[in-house]
Symmetry: C2
Subunit: 215 residues, 2 copies
């Protein structure tokens, strides 16, 4: 049986991508990986790498894109959970914590490259996080009726805090995980409540609006 050439190429490309993800860990950042190391892990010759990516940066940006896909799947799961539980905040935080433990490599990548040395990487990660922020901002805007700008500022703060709680979660013992989750939930509730107090004056004439931000 003759395999399609393009199919074979795609297969090798996957080998490289998977190898790179496999090499990421708490002790190993993407920027510390060498081309030869990735090739070795993928089971190909160093030079074969160039048939698929210009250089390590191009591979890295591809990984960030793939990470973004995983993040958006996460969002879908979180949305489902919000419908089930009713509380946006705790559902989101808990879903995110589960994600970090099920796909730590993706999180390592995003966490570190977000503040890394490559502008291209920082922008790529930032773009992926914007999906989260915009989606959350929309939700806030719809349920709370805040102006778009204010909703986004609030959403951004929330995403940053959840992200940071995730980073802490990687270092902590499983026993402390719940405590950490609760802390993040509390912090997000402060924000939700504070924003509500600040903004309810501005929409006092509008009479619809449910005034509480999280049950």
């Amino acid at each position: 049986m003759t395999v399609n050439r393009a199919q074979q190429k795609e297969k090798t490309r996957r080998l490289i991508i998977d190898a790179a993800f496999r090499l990421l860990s708490q002790e190993r950042s993407y920027s510390s990986l060498s081309l030869r190391e990735v090739a070795r892990e993928a089971g190909i010759a160093p030079n074969s790498f160039y048939r698929h990516f210009e250089d390590m940066e191009e591979l890295g940006l591809t990984l960030v894109d793939e990470g973004g896909v995983a993040l958006r799947q996460l969002m879908r799961r979180a949305r489902q959970r919000i419908r089930d539980e009713g509380s946006v905040i705790s559902a989101s935080v808990e879903t995110f914590m589960e994600f970090i433990h099920s796909s730590p490599q993706v999180f390592y990548l995003l966490l570190r490259e977000r503040s890394g040395t490559s502008m291209a990487f920082r922008k790529a990660v930032s773009r992926e996080l914007q999906y989260f922020i915009v989606e959350l901002a929309d939700y806030i805007q719809q349920t709370q009726g805040y102006p778009a700008a204010d909703a986004k500022i609030q959403a951004e703060a929330m995403v940053i805090l959840v992200f940071n709680a995730g980073a802490d979660a990687l270092d902590c013992k499983p026993a402390e995980l719940k405590q950490l989750t609760d802390k993040a939930i509390t912090q997000l509730r402060y924000i939700a409540r504070g924003a509500d107090e600040f903004l309810k004056g501005r929409r006092s004439e509008s009479k619809k609006s449910a005034s509480r931000s999280d049950k």
Copy 2:
């Protein structure tokens, strides 16, 4: 004139430390520096490095400690400014933004090693940030009268947001800096207000307490 041997050694040690800081930039993280590179920048032979530090990790931890000193000086400046301006939040955020632009290298180090691959580094940075958090938590506790645990959760959220705003500030054009600062201030005000709303119920019997968290 004969110079004291210990003095000379200390001088060379400083050369190394300063060289390492000088090499840090938006494009260069500490973990990407090589021993030889630092030695070259310091103007000494590679092997001389070992007369002062066991390895690059030890030097790095020293840099974090020095960064901590800079941070605590910053806190002092912020405290002064709070007295002058009256608003804790805007004074703190603005002081921090100025710090980032006057000592970017220190900030690069703390920002990246905070989520880096070395547990020792992460702990060291975390310890330095705790000074900030504890100090801010004390202030909140004293002025607002919240329980210590709640004050700390609030302080932590605030420090994380300011830190992240700082990271964004490094990438943005000077024109957008004010906008970014204002955003962070707004986020911190949400937290302060939200925490106040959540906690004022609990201290309803106490009659002293000024209820507003920021002027």
